[in-house]
């Protein structure tokens, strides 16, 4: 009963204290694509991803009702860091949907406008506002509407310092550029939703060689839909001065936010629920000397040499692109081609034979042919037979028929080579439905793709890849260009298994080198994957994406045509950056992939 009354009270008082309009809310999810396009068009860095930000405690004076309700402690603000544009996950502060949407657009424009961060918050935002209004005069009416609506939502504090401060902010909003500094007050000013973060948190890059576990490595673990970026700081692991001191365990409950090295073993099976993190302003992350067993288990996954696949040669050194230094790091990765040790030659699995038969007959129609077509109305040569016939008919007094008198050389040239590169990282161990894992789908795809292509006579090769840091990129040879598609190749395809990470750049570079040796006029590099590039070391986030992008660009310069087929539904945020608008396709239903891919190939190569 007590709890129910409490809940009811909370509901009532928060509703009374905070004027929000959930029915008119606009979420970031709804406008994400638009947000990205606008940000780039208005001059933002094209490599940044759009993410929802965490709420920040503003520390400003609140209205009486809000204090009673204990609400409005935090607000979601907008800021930029090296990898992301952080926007509020939802805006519902105005009673009209269009205004809430306009606020998003305004924030994007403001974030894209350059401003000198050496100035104070109030000057910086006014300058950015002026810059945006000067560059995009069409935004001015919207800005005026937004300012009017915002001024209604702001309450007038009664304390002396705070009052002047509020007046200055209002003046700065109404006449940007008119306020040179913020008057001092005891409390922080009320947050201004039309401006950027007063003190943007700086995300420190992961230290080189630092270990970051892949966030979806667990094969059958559920994908978290929480894509928020938490503000994290990387702190030094405090040295344990007194090893004998025991901490009272309950203390840790109250000291969640302060970093304390608790004398407690790292726990296994942490619940996946990360809600406490939402209550924190900052997560402190330190690398302790110990490795948790879960990570240990993961690293130990490298099979012993006897059980591992057969390595071919000593490995190949490949460069890698460092986007921050904007330079290529020569001989940075070692790629090891390998071939399955215990692959048994086998025939096509029976469950695929019906589809394979159908695909083969469809693809035989694509067989190359070069023919002289006779009796054309237009062509490079005269069709002598038709000419003689036509002249004889005419002389003989027959009525001249409308026939083509030319021969045309008809090209149906399929001079092409295709290299299929499949991602065999551990994330392919996840289940796509009740029956099959991603890896099973990839295996079936490889089978059907090979069946279809061997019917056309197009040259093709199949490779798979996974990686464990930069010195250990595993490049599985399934079928080279010279090798015939036979039972042995089928055995190798059947033997593929998921493992490790996705260092895509190096694999693409090596695949490009193999493909560029082919002399075909069209050379297609098909990349089959289920997610973003990532690896245990710094190869994650933007570093990985930018290296892969560089590798794709190199492939294009070599005259190859890279194309990505992915089943990552969230790929929309990074795929255009990697492959360009028409350089990729997202297969929504992974189970459809085996049938889709050969058809896609037919379209791509026509």
């Amino acid at each position: 009963m007590e709890e129910q009354v409490g809940a009811l009270w909370h509901k009532l008082i928060t509703r009374a204290a905070d004027q929000r309009y959930p029915a008119q809310a606009v979420t970031l999810e709804q406008i994400k694509k638009t947000a990205g396009i606008l940000f780039r068009a208005w001059g933002g860095d094209s490599g940044l991803a759009v993410k929802s930000a965490t709420a920040t405690a503003h520390g400003a004076k609140r209205s009486l009702l809000q204090r009673i309700a204990g609400s409005n402690l935090k607000t979601e603000l907008t800021w930029l860091d090296g990898e992301t544009l952080n926007l509020p996950s939802l805006i519902d502060i105005f009673p009209e949907r269009s205004l809430n949407r306009d606020l998003y657009l305004w924030l994007i424009a403001l974030a894209a406008a350059e401003s000198d961060s050496s100035f104070s918050w109030i000057v910086r935002n006014q300058a950015a506002t002026l810059a945006v209004l000067a560059k995009f005069p069409g935004l001015a009416p919207r800005y005026r509407r937004l300012v009017e609506a915002v001024l209604i939502t702001r309450f007038q504090p009664s304390e002396p310092g705070a009052r002047e401060q509020e007046a200055a902010i209002r003046a700065a909003l109404l006449n940007p550029g008119s306020v040179a500094r913020l008057p001092p007050a005891r409390c922080a000013p009320q947050p201004v939703c039309l401006w950027l973060h007063p003190d943007p948190p700086v995300t420190l890059p992961a230290a080189g060689g630092g270990k970051e576990p892949e966030n979806h490595e667990g094969g059958d673990s559920k994908k978290s839909d929480n894509e928020r970026r938490y503000q994290a700081e990387r702190v030094q692991m405090p040295e344990e001065k007194n090893a004998f001191m025991m901490y009272f365990r309950a203390e840790s409950i109250f000291s969640w936010a302060e970093y304390i090295k608790v004398n407690r073993a790292t726990e296994e099976d942490e619940p996946p629920d990360a809600r406490p993190a939402e209550d924190l302003d900052k997560l402190s992350v330190a690398q302790d000397g110990k490795t948790s067993a879960s990570r240990l288990r993961f690293d130990l996954d490298l099979p012993s040499e006897a059980a591992d696949d057969l390595p071919l040669g000593d490995g190949i050194l490949l460069p890698e692109w460092h986007y921050k230094k904007q330079c290529m790091q020569p001989a940075h990765c070692r790629l090891q081609p390998m071939v399955a040790r215990n692959a048994v030659p086998l025939a096509l699995p029976s469950h695929l034979s019906a589809t394979a038969r159908r695909l083969r007959s469809q693809f035989e129609a694509l067989m190359p042919a070069k023919v002289w077509l006779k009796g054309q109305f237009d062509g490079s040569e005269l069709d002598l037979d038709a000419c003689v016939q036509f002249t004889a008919d005419r002389i003989g007094g027959l009525e001249a028929r409308e026939t083509g008198l030319y021969k045309a050389h008809h090209y149906r040239d399929r001079d092409l080579a295709c290299l299929l590169l499949a991602d065999l990282s551990l994330s392919t161990d996840a289940y796509v439905n009740d029956h099959a894992r991603v890896i099973d789908v990839i295996r079936d795809t490889l089978f059907l793709f090979s069946e279809a292509l061997s019917a056309t006579g197009d040259r093709f090769a199949l490779y798979g890849f996974s990686s464990l840091k930069r010195e250990n990129i595993r490049f599985h040879v399934l079928k080279e260009f010279e090798r015939k598609y036979n039972d042995e190749v089928r055995g190798r395809i059947a033997a593929i298994k998921p493992g490790f990470y996705t260092r895509m750049g190096a694999a693409i570079r090596h695949a490009s080198q193999l493909l560029v040796k082919q002399t075909a006029t069209q050379r297609l590099l098909l990349i089959l994957t289920d997610g973003k590039p990532n690896d245990l070391d710094q190869y994650e986030g933007r570093y990985g994406v930018e290296d892969t992008r560089a590798a794709i660009h190199e492939a294009r310069l070599m005259g190859l045509r890279p194309f990505c087929v992915t089943i990552d539904e969230k790929g929309g945020s990074y795929l255009p950056h990697l492959f360009g608008v028409n350089g990729y396709i997202v297969i929504r239903k992974p189970s459809e992939l085996p049938r889709e891919l050969p058809l896609l190939y037919a379209q791509l190569t026509q």
Binding site: K33, T34, G36, I37, L38, R40, A41, W42, G43, S46, L105, A109, K135, F136, P137, G138, L139, A140, P141, R142, G379, S380, E381, L382, C387, F390, T391, R394, I395, L405, Y406, A408, H409, Y411, T521, Q522, R556, L557, G559, R561, P576, H577, G580, V581, N582
Partner: protein, 262 residues
């Protein structure tokens, strides 16, 4: 074509001078640049300036050597030889301009080889003729080196026979003058449109396949100049030609609203 008036052209750099030097020294010219940046206009301007006839061939992937050189036509019991545009240009002297030459099939461009080196001859296999190009003859080809054309990029052996000139979209100032010169738009409108194009060009290779061309800006300004609503003109002549995706089009419209207001 009329030779009396010069087609409007605003030079970006030294291209007019280069063209004249190439013409005087009988060198073939290759122009590369994105679509709608003024390649074709430049050629017609130069042809008018040098008072030369212009033979333009828009290349496509079914263009054969016979389409360029000529073919036999059937007449009343006899066959007639009919010159193609290239042969006509060689016979009469003039500029032969092959637009988007990479679109043509590879074997087609081989007929250009003897014309584009110091021999300057055009052998016509089917009639047994060998034509010597007069000094007034000039060969000009152009293509758009976007990555989507890398598949059928030019043969290096062909490319090496040409003096090359790279075109790009003009700078903001110059582009404004071009829009004004082409359409008579007022300076404010030209500035807005060029600004808008700058925003749209930032999306190339990320959200859009091709950058917004100067030609599209001219179209837009023309629509607005004849009294059409500016925002709708941008939708019709700038946004829709750039993308088929509805969501992207909506986002592009937001950029338009940010310039012209809503």
């Amino acid at each position: 074509m009329k030779m009396s008036e010069l087609p409007f052209y605003k030079p970006h750099g030294n291209e007019i001078e280069l063209f004249e030097h190439a013409y005087r020294n009988r060198l073939p010219l290759l122009i590369k640049g994105p679509t709608g940046c003024g390649k074709t206009r430049f050629i017609s301007h130069m042809a008018a300036k040098l008072k030369l006839p212009l033979y333009t061939v828009a290349c496509h992937d079914d263009l054969t050597a016979a389409d360029l050189v000529g073919r036999h036509l059937i007449g009343d019991g006899v066959t007639y030889w009919n010159d193609g545009p290239l042969t006509r240009a060689v016979r009469e002297g003039g500029i032969c301009y092959l637009d988007e030459v990479v679109e043509a099939r590879k074997d087609t461009t081989v007929v250009l080889h003897p014309l584009s080196d110091d021999r300057r001859i055009l052998p016509i296999e089917r009639t047994g003729e060998i034509l010597d190009a007069p000094p007034e003859f000039m060969l000009v080809v152009s293509y758009n080196p976007g990555y989507q054309n890398f598949l059928k990029g030019m043969k290096p052996s062909t490319r090496q026979r040409f003096v090359s000139l790279r075109f790009n979209f003009p700078g903001a100032e110059l582009e404004q003058q071009i829009v004004i010169g082409e359409t008579g738009a007022d300076a404010m409108l030209a500035k807005c449109l060029v600004n808008l194009a700058g925003s749209l060009r930032a999306l190339k290779e990320h959200d859009l396949e091709e950058a917004a061309s100067t030609r599209l800006l001219v179209y837009t300004a023309t629509l607005i100049g004849s009294g059409f609503d500016p925002v709708e003109a941008c939708r019709a002549a700038l946004v829709e030609p750039l993308t088929d995706d509805e969501e992207t089009a909506e986002a592009l419209m937001e950029i338009v609203y940010a310039t012209f207001g809503k």
